[in-house]
């Protein structure tokens, strides 16, 4: 058993929570956007470099955006209002157009935010052309504004908003025309925050949330970047944090800070995958597992008490899979054995000295004072080697009350080279200490079979906004349906279509 404990511990340690896979070096990434079967993001640098990914997990460099702009650089008016740098873009899809806003600073705080308009994101497409839309907003180098770091939101009323700014003065809000992407009118911008940059708005259930990045960038592991936020019922503010402090007076509830091997999170972008799954993109100033460079990440976005919560990427380890519907846990359908062995059913707790009970009128109670209860020695965790000798090679799975038994403890580990989905790789889900892996069957049910790496044994684990998990196989044999793990009764797991309004397909993953 000790050998397996060490194995599990070593495995967990050997599988750090990576920020994505592939070529993910980027600074100031835009909101991640999806088109034509690929995900895209754009960052700071010459020509606005492009990263793209087929699955949202493994990313590749895909050229630069300015290569598809006439002249290969910002338009003349953008250069005149700002400068010839190309930084920190953001992008939005409205109708048949993509509007990409980018920072074009000269000598800060003289800067402009330029607009590019395109109809496809695919650099391989002959339609991959971006038209210069000129500057949308700018700062003259004197005013309390530094027109960089655009962030765009199309609100539920169909109104398009742009926030921008950096430490020279205010974070500002202007309205844009969703048909053209241009500024809707030339009325004065609204100041909504200070002491920050990388601002962006999101909307949820009657609240506008302003997310900004505090601290300093661009110093590797010495960067103090952290993401903070406030919220308002009106898009124009005031944006107050959880303590009621206005962001225009420096307020901001912490959303994400340095953690683990990642220093300096910044540049929030919402990636709403629908059906209760939201994620957010960001960069870390320094990924200590990648030499301290700035990298892209995509993490779960959770919600609690009306505030967004930065979820963490799923970490390999040994878990119980508890149905939110039933409170029972997934297990192999084998005869379980109590941890520590069988005990007499009736009577007092172990060590109490009470050995039996029964209906009234039975034996006389023992004379004298009651025995002194005594605790016993610690009982070791149950290991498959103690109980699995009669387990069949292929086993049905079912749901049962959690009892910490070996057939209920699942090792969830990423599968190298198997691809993934936005923010995470595919995982295998295997009874710890065995090769019995959760497998989708031809008829849309489940079994546990030796791991082969087949698609029906690769699992996507998405954390939902309430913190529970949605778990589904990469493929179900015999169908193209995207089914997920579901509790159809107290004792029966199956695969079925995800219903975001139900607890049937919500799972709680915890330490056994």
């Amino acid at each position: 058993m000790l050998r397996n404990v060490l194995l599990y511990a070593a495995l967990a340690c050997a599988l750090p929570v990576h920020a994505l896979d592939g070529d993910i070096v980027i600074h100031d990434p835009s909101t991640v956007i999806f088109q034509g079967g690929r995900y895209y993001t754009y960052g700071t640098g010459n020509g606005l470099p492009i990263l793209s990914s087929e699955d949202g997990w493994t990313w590749h460099r895909s050229g630069s955006l300015m290569s598809a702009v006439a002249g290969g650089k910002p338009g003349a008016e953008v250069l005149a209002k700002g400068g010839n740098n190309t930084w920190a873009p953001d992008i939005i899809h409205i109708g048949d157009k993509f509007f990409l806003y980018y920072s074009a600073p000269g000598t800060q705080p003289k800067s402009a935010i330029g607009l590019l308009v395109g109809r496809t994101l695919d650099p391989q497409s002959p339609e991959f052309k971006w038209e210069d839309g000129g500057p949308v907003v700018w700062s003259d180098g004197i005013e309390d504004s530094n027109a960089i770091d655009p962030g765009v939101l199309l609100d539920p009323d169909g109104r398009l908003w742009l926030t921008y700014g950096s430490y020279f003065g205010y974070i500002r809000l202007v309205e844009l025309d969703p048909k053209t992407g241009q500024r809707r009118n030339q009325s004065a911008p609204v100041n909504v925050a200070i002491n920050s940059e990388a601002s962006i708005l999101i909307y949820r259930e009657g609240w506008y949330y302003l997310l900004v990045t505090h601290g300093s960038c661009c110093q590797g592991a010495n960067s103090t970047y952290n993401i903070r936020m406030g919220r308002s019922r009106k898009v124009t503010g005031p944006y107050l944090d959880n303590m009621g402090v206005d962001m225009i007076q420096g307020g901001g509830k912490l959303f994400a800070a340095s953690r683990g091997r990642h220093v300096g999170p910044g540049h929030f972008g919402l990636l709403d995958l629908g059906q209760g799954v939201q994620k957010f993109s960001l960069h870390y100033e320094a990924d200590l597992d990648r030499g301290g460079v700035s990298v892209l990440d995509i993490r779960p976005l959770l919600w609690r008490d009306g505030w967004p919560i930065a979820g963490n990427n799923f970490a390999a380890g040994v878990y119980t899979l508890e149905s939110a519907r039933t409170g029972t846990v997934l297990e192999l359908a084998v005869q379980g054995f109590p941890v520590g062995g069988f005990r007499q059913r009736r009577g007092g707790p172990p060590g109490s000295g009470i050995v039996g009970s029964g209906p009234p009128g039975g034996a006389q109670p023992p004379a004298g004072p009651p025995p002194e209860p005594q605790m016993g020695a610690p009982i070791a965790d149950q290991d498959p080697s103690q109980v699995a000798s009669n387990w069949p090679g292929t086993t049905a799975v079912r749901l049962a009350p959690a009892m910490l038994q070996a057939q209920q403890k699942w090792l969830i580990a990423p599968v190298s080279g198997a691809g993934g989905y936005p923010g995470a790789p595919f995982f295998r889900i295997t009874i710890a200490g065995t090769e019995r892996s959760l497998t989708a069957t031809q008829d849309g049910e489940l079994s546990a079979t030796p791991f082969t790496g087949a698609a029906e044994q690769l699992w996507r684990i998405d954390q939902l906004t309430d913190g529970s998990y949605r778990i589904g196989p990469k493929a179900v044999p015999g169908t193209n349906e995207s089914w997920v793990l579901s509790a159809v009764g107290s004792s029966m797991p199956t695969l079925s279509k995800f219903d975001p309004a139900s607890d049937r397909q919500r799972w709680l993953l915890g330490a056994p």
């Binding site: 359908a333 005869q335 209906p359 008829d443 159809v488 009764g489 004792s491 029966m492 199956t494």
Partner: protein
């Protein structure tokens, strides 16, 4: 842990032997929720529950509730293979050396209270196995449906001869506790058989079919006509 609650009448019987003997021999009142079926068939209720069953008087078994013990109980209590044919009310069968009678019953509740059934017949309620059987008539082939049951305690279920649910341990009769894989109900007659094994205390079961959205399956009727 399931608690064994003895009815007051039983406690009195144990304590007052003379009067108790007279009461023991007197017929007990019938179970209040169980009556003889009326009419040739009966639809499932609005929640899909099956109310009409043939129930065999309890077969004495050890009543232990593990997978191996349940398998042993099924062997001990096995009945002669009757294929798809259903017994009739009043038929007898021999199981584990005991001659036992089939009872056709309608339950007024969503569940069948086997404790009341056996107690009313002055039969044991602990360490027993109950065989139950019924047929549901489907108006057409109905695929991707599931048999969903609750049982106190362990139970095994067969649909048209195929094993579909196995619950091996001590448990209460929770609606939809045990659910089968996706199955197809054939147009016409479909036979459900089950064995419910009880260690001690209350014992009952309920059963219905669910559609592919886990909603009660309407349109089924239940009958106890002998197999054609």
């Amino acid at each position: 842990m399931k608690r064994v609650i003895l009815p007051t009448a039983l406690l009195c019987l144990a304590a007052t032997s003379g009067i108790a003997l007279a009461q023991e021999q007197a017929p007990r009142p019938p179970a209040s929720t169980l009556t003889a079926p009326k009419g040739a068939s009966q639809p499932v209720d609005a929640r899909g529950f099956i109310h009409r069953w043939l129930v065999l008087e309890p077969v004495p078994v050890q009543g232990r509730l593990t997978e191996t013990a349940v398998q042993e109980a099924l062997k001990v209590a096995a009945l002669p293979d009757a294929g798809d044919a259903l017994p009739k009310d009043g038929d007898t069968a021999v199981a584990n050396g005991a001659t036992l009678r089939w009872h056709a019953l309608d339950t007024s509740h969503y569940n069948v209270n086997l404790y009341h059934f056996a107690w009313a017949l002055s039969k044991p309620t602990s360490n027993v196995l109950f065989w139950v059987v019924t047929t549901v008539e489907a108006p057409r082939d109905m695929s991707n449906v599931r048999l969903a049951i609750g049982s106190n305690a362990a139970s095994r279920w067969w649909l048209n001869g195929q094993p579909v649910i196995a619950l091996n341990d001590d448990r209460q009769a929770v609606i939809d506790d045990g659910v089968s894989p996706r199955v197809t109900l054939h147009r016409g007659r479909n036979v459900i058989r089950a064995a419910i094994i009880n260690g001690g205390g209350a014992t009952d079961f309920c059963a219905r079919f669910l559609d592919e959205n886990d909603q009660p399956l309407p349109g089924l009727t239940v009958s106890l006509q002998p197999g054609q």
